[in-house]
């Protein structure tokens, strides 16, 4: 059994190495001089260093994730007991969805669903 696993691992390794070797043989070479590694700025020299801080604005993604994730987290156990508890469970889920809906409307206003 271990021999088969070892053979599979070896075959996988060889296949990977073969692909790397094929890429190396087929590629056209690389120019690694300083001007060739310049960041693209339409042919102009960059004025400042490439390290800079910018805001990724994850807030909107986080909000969308939380809203839909929390909905699912609560809905699964709720679906299990819904028939036993009845109308009370229905009202509770209604309130919960309403609160989440307000969150979705807020996120919408913040431009999270905008087409970039």
């Amino acid at each position: 059994m271990y021999t088969t696993a070892l053979l599979y691992a070896l075959a996988g390794l060889l296949f990977g190495l073969a692909l790397l070797a094929l890429g190396r043989v087929l590629r056209f070479g690389v120019i690694t001089t300083e001007p060739a590694r310049q960041p693209f700025e339409s042919g102009m020299d960059p004025q400042v260093h490439a390290w800079n801080r910018f805001h990724v604005r994850y807030l909107n993604y986080t909000l969308i994730f939380l809203l839909f994730d929390m909905e699912m987290v609560y809905m699964y156990p709720w679906a299990v007991v819904f028939l036993d508890v009845g109308w009370k469970a229905f009202m509770e889920m209604g309130m919960f969805i309403t609160i989440l809906l307000l969150g979705i409307l807020y996120t919408w206003r913040e431009g999270a669903f905008r087409w970039d």
Partner: protein, 425 residues
């Protein structure tokens, strides 16, 4: 080996640089489907120089070509071209027309791993030397306010959300995909937001309209008091608007429809065009372009904007409105009130329908209205030429501030700037 490489390579990607009279050859080249559009120089295999390239673009083009990954080649397409375009660029493939390109030979030169394009073009020196400098060999003094690796760090500044973000001076153009060729924008970027546009330059040399411009833009002949067939003026407008719409659809990630519009603008078949225009004026385009780059009617008047850009902001500026031939045809200028990118799309799409209608009814009517596709050609106080593209450039600096980058590209695209025309005097 060569055949294996040929097989593995696929379709070459192009990075276009459009020079004088180069717009049409480039569009024709795109239609040939032998190449596709690259996303930037590192992604591209062909540096396509279309039209006559101004000699002072040499330094930026050399720097650009050097950043292209191998294999790479300069493809130069210009009427009457028989030599290599610029000193300093390696010899590539030169053709006087797109039909004259021998694609097999071009492929051979592109995939030649021993050719002149496969060697480094510029000396192996950093543009800003830094090795071994500073206390720790980091290339300078400190981090914030210092110059690590030979370049200063960007300083912070508050953004509209009161966050202290780096304010990065960025030069875009004169060769940037998505911007008109020759247009240089000096921007201050905070992440993907344009904080400020510090400078706008048109890198095309100032000159009088070259011979043959009146054929491409009949409104120039009308400005010289020549009676021009209405059909000529409207065909030129239709072709220009369709070319612009195809470029904008490319920006909006709809390359299939863009290509069909480019094909349809060759023979201007009314039925096919109406169908394509109907597809282009979609809800998707509306959601991608609404509320972006809003120009109010007061701003349009203050900045002296012209043509469809002004009409999309509610101004009824159209010299055809006062022309007897057009009045007889029942002409009414197309006006929208929104002033955003979507309104500018709507104005041009509605003007395409209008031009198709006018072409049906124009017969041999002649006009002296100097209203081109981008607006009216006027006389300056000194008797020179005042082009609509030159006037519309005024919207860039104030209009770009505060836009996110994808909005900024759409905003610039929606102005339909012909940088070559903007340099006519």
């Amino acid at each position: 080996m060569h055949r294996a490489r040929h097989f593995a390579f696929g379709r070459p990607r192009a990075f276009p640089v459009v020079g004088l009279g180069g717009v049409e050859p480039w569009r024709e080249l795109l239609l040939h489907r032998q190449l596709s559009l690259g996303r930037g120089p590192r992604d591209a295999d062909l540096l396509v120089l279309s039209g006559e390239i101004p000699t002072d673009w040499g330094n930026t083009l050399r720097a650009l070509f050097e950043t292209m990954a191998l294999p790479r080649l300069v493809l130069y397409v210009a009427p009457g071209a028989d030599t290599d375009p610029l000193p300093g660029l390696p010899p590539g493939y030169t053709a006087s027309s797109v039909e004259g390109i021998d694609w097999t030979l071009l492929w051979e030169r592109l995939l030649d791993s021993q050719g002149p394009s496969a060697r480094a073009l510029l000396a192996d020196q950093p543009p800003t030397p830094w090795r071994g400098r500073g206390d720790h060999g980091q290339g300078g003094e400190g981090m914030m306010g210092g110059t690590p690796y030979g370049r200063p760090m960007a300083m912070t500044m508050e953004d509209p959300d009161q966050l202290a973000l780096d304010d990065v001076p960025t030069a875009l153009g004169p060769h940037f995909p998505g911007l008109p060729s020759g247009l240089y924008l000096g921007l201050r970027l905070q992440g993907d937001r344009v904080r400020q546009c510090e400078g706008v330059e048109n890198r095309f040399p100032s000159q009088s309209p070259p011979p043959g411009s009146g054929h491409r833009e009949p409104a120039l002949r009308a400005r010289a008091r020549e009676a021009v067939p209405v059909a000529d003026l409207e065909q030129a407008r239709l072709r220009s608007h369709l070319g612009w719409l195809a470029d904008l659809l490319d920006l909006c990630d709809r390359p299939g429809l863009a290509m069909r519009l480019r094909e349809a603008r060759k023979d201007l078949d009314s039925h096919a065009l109406r169908r394509l225009l109907d597809r282009a004026e979609s809800r998707q385009l509306y959601y991608q372009t609404r509320n972006i780059g809003v120009i109010s009617s007061a701003q349009a008047r203050q900045w002296r904007l012209a043509g469809p850009v002004a009409r999309a902001s509610g101004l009824k500026l159209d010299t055809r409105n006062h022309d007897p031939a057009y009045r007889e045809l029942g002409f009414q200028p197309v006006v929208e009130r929104g002033g955003d990118v979507w309104s500018r799309c709507r104005v041009r799409i509605r003007e395409c329908y209008q031009s198709l209608d006018l072409l049906d009814r124009a017969g041999d009517a002649h006009t002296r209205a100097p209203e081109g596709a981008r607006g009216s050609f006027l006389d300056t106080a000194g008797g020179g030429l005042d082009t609509p593209s030159a006037r519309n450039l005024a919207a860039l600096q104030p209009g770009l501030a505060g836009l996110e980058w994808h909005e900024a590209v759409l905003f610039v695209g929606s102005l339909d700037l012909d940088t070559e025309e903007a340099a006519w005097r």
